[in-house]
Amino acid sequence: MSLMSRMDERMNPVLLTQLRVLMRGKIMLFAVLLYMVIMMITVVGSAPSNWNIRRSDHVQMLLSFLAFSFVIVLPTLNGLMQSGSKDNLELISLTRLRPAQIARGQLGMLWVQYALLLMMSLPFVVMIHYFGGMDLSLFYALLGLASLVGIAFSHANFWICGLTLSSGWKQFLCWSLVPCQITLFAYIVSWNSFNRFDRDGVVILTLTVLVVIAALYFWLCALHTSVHANRALPVRFYTVFCVTVGGLIWKAVDITSFEAWAAMALIIASATALIAAGERREYGIRYYRSISDQLWRRVLLFPFSSGTANGITCSLLIALIVLLLAGVKWLSWITLFVFVLSYALLSVVIKDRILKRWGGPAYTWWIVLGVGAIVILMPFLVYGLLSSQGLEGIEHSVMIYFSPVFLTDNSMMLGKFMASLITFASIGPLYFAPFKNQLKAYLQKRGPSG
């Protein structure tokens, strides 16, 4: 068997099919030709004798073109979204392809295209380097960063398309990302003025984008996994891993303020608690099969697995990590724990008691997410408005949200503790029994029939 045949057989089927479609399609060919022509005009048309003097302007223009050329990927995204429709994914799920293989095939197609664009831009970059004497490595580093940003947004588009939303909503959300992407591109291009170049900024942005790309990959895998399987496991494990490693690095290196990391981690803990509200209270047959036979593994994996009780435990684990790294006192511990738990239980109550007979499960989940966030943020926003201090008041009220970590004002923390305790006492009993049952069912590895 020839090398080509062997490659053909070993290649990811999703990637192979998309590559075939891309090679056959006319839109991509047209876009690539147009791109080459524009680049040629840009380079040749702006090649004056005093290029060295004005090189920064030319490099800026070239980088702009290169960065915005990533819009070429949009038709491929559209094709991939079609192949990623719910009906088609269901059929693919009946084959031997695993969710991670499907996700890798889809995302691999985007990586291939970005690599192609970078390679195509190489002659023009070399041309400018030859005429203008610019720093080639820096230029390519910025271009690489722009590609990573493009890839991150493409991953985000994919993830949105996998959600259980109407196509109108999906399109709205996808198109909403375009201005954000262009803004980030413009930000990266602005770094080209070398005197304003911030190496730390590039490192932080690159790391952040890589973390986001990986997170979106895990989310996409989870979306491709059957709802009956334990699909939250890799997502939650990766989230807790990132929070922990990120916190340790932040504390050790102190790249920027540690509070920024703590605030982000607490927002992640809150989001995890809210998402947990929409998950299963009972483990299904397939899920049951995936629970480990070894007790220590079951205990270890409980916070990372799918399920409401599991998700809430995961959010508490993130809160614990924040508190351990922040090194705060016991009162702060209890305050934050009760607050996060109240927050999660409030969402569960909204879903189970108020929205029980309203809307399909998917919509209920979204409403819980929205309403839960509004309800939990409302007191702070109201406080900010009532204090008549405008933005300063709102900023202060947001600080109360993170009070166990940032504020040493005991009276404020006590107020938050009391408010959380009242919420917990009023809604906690409603949820305590199901939570306990789910925990027991998981740890005892009890099947759906009990």
Binding site: M1, E9, P13, V14, L16, T17, R20, V21, R24, G25, G79, Q82, S83, S85, D87, N88, E90, L91, I92, S93, L94, T95, R96, L97, S226, H228, G284, I285, R286, R289, K356, R357, P361, P448, S449
Partner: protein, 309 residues
């Protein structure tokens, strides 16, 4: 090879979609799945194909649970959903080649299987056409070919004849018959009951997620312990005959249609003979007394009427 559905139960919130469903069918059989819209047919088929998880119950193929071991279930079952493929810019060959690779077929085995299936379903001339631009009948052929690529021993088809023209329906029927003769167990749902009568060996009727009747087609259509339908033509006044028949016991639903009197009566053929004798004794000149055969449609209407609130 036997496919058994045991105590299948599924609820969505307050709605019980499938309620303790039990049935079985085996190799070489085409089993019709009948029920009104929202009866739970698609949910049942999706559970069989492992796209939905039942709250209770199991689906087994030769004793192996497809719920417990979904991978084995996928290998043994081919599922054809009611939605047809709508992907633009992908050709029939690319579509089928993708699914053959995804099904784990490799090398020459993949190529030969693909070609054999394409020949079998008659898609050879359509290989380079875009899937989205095919007619419904051809799309259905593509979907069926896709489901057959990994050579499953069980086929589950959800409304495969919906929207097809008569020629495509006949082609589909013939294909399914050949597949059943090859030893595959086939479950097919359809609203076109006359179609199922011509194609199926057995029938399963459900409504509101509950089993109404199951068995071989002959058993289902059997006249025993059911009503008989009779049409009568007389040389006399048909209206007078109609009034007379209405007075007789066992007779129900008497109607006058196109000069004939149509009636339904409880009992067997002996009752039919008694009715004819009484009419003649009453002085009616009967020139035709015909027992109308009952179709699946009649049985289905009767069964679903029985359980509706």
């Amino acid at each position: 090879m036997q496919v058994s559905v045991c105590g299948l139960y599924k609820r969505y919130g307050d709605l019980v979609a499938v309620d303790d469903l039990n049935f079985s069918f085996e190799s070489g059989q085409i089993f019709g799945f009948v029920g009104p819209n929202g009866a739970g047919k698609t949910t049942t088929m999706r559970m069989m194909a492992n796209l939905e998880e039942p709250d209770k119950g199991d689906v087994t193929i030769d004793g192996v649970s497809v719920i417990q071991f979904p991978e084995q279930g996928h290998d043994k079952m081919g599922y054809v959903p009611d939605a047809l493929p709508e992907m633009k810019s992908i050709t029939v060959y690319e579509y089928l080649d993708f699914f053959s690779r995804a099904s784990g077929l490799r090398g020459t085995n993949r190529v030969s299987t693909l070609n054999r299936m394409i020949d079998f379903t008659g898609l050879t001339e359509l290989l380079h056409r875009e899937v989205a631009r095919l007619s419904k009948g051809n799309k259905q052929k593509v979907t069926l070919t896709r489901a057959l690529l990994h050579n499953p021993s069980v086929l589950v088809l959800d409304e495969p004849a919906a929207g097809l023209d008569p020629k495509a329906r006949v082609e589909l029927r013939e294909l399914l018959r050949v597949l059943a003769d090859q030893g595959k167990a086939i479950l097919v749902s359809s609203h076109i009951l006359s179609e199922l009568t011509e194609m199926c060996d057995g029938v399963l009727m459900i409504d509101h997620g509950r089993l109404l009747k199951t068995g071989s087609l002959a058993d289902i259509l059997d006249h025993k312990d059911s009503h008989l339908k009779v049409s009568i033509r007389t040389l006399d006044d048909a209206e007078r005959l109609l009034e007379f028949l209405k007075t007789l016991p066992h007779v129900s639903d008497v109607r006058l249609l196109q000069g004939r009197v149509w009636l339904e009566h409880s009992g067997d053929r002996r009752t039919s003979a008694d009715l004819l004798a009484m009419s003649i004794r009453q002085g009616f000149s009967i020139v035709e007394f015909k027992e109308e055969s009952r179709g699946l449609e009649d049985v289905f209407m009767k069964m679903t009427h029985g359980v509706r609130p």
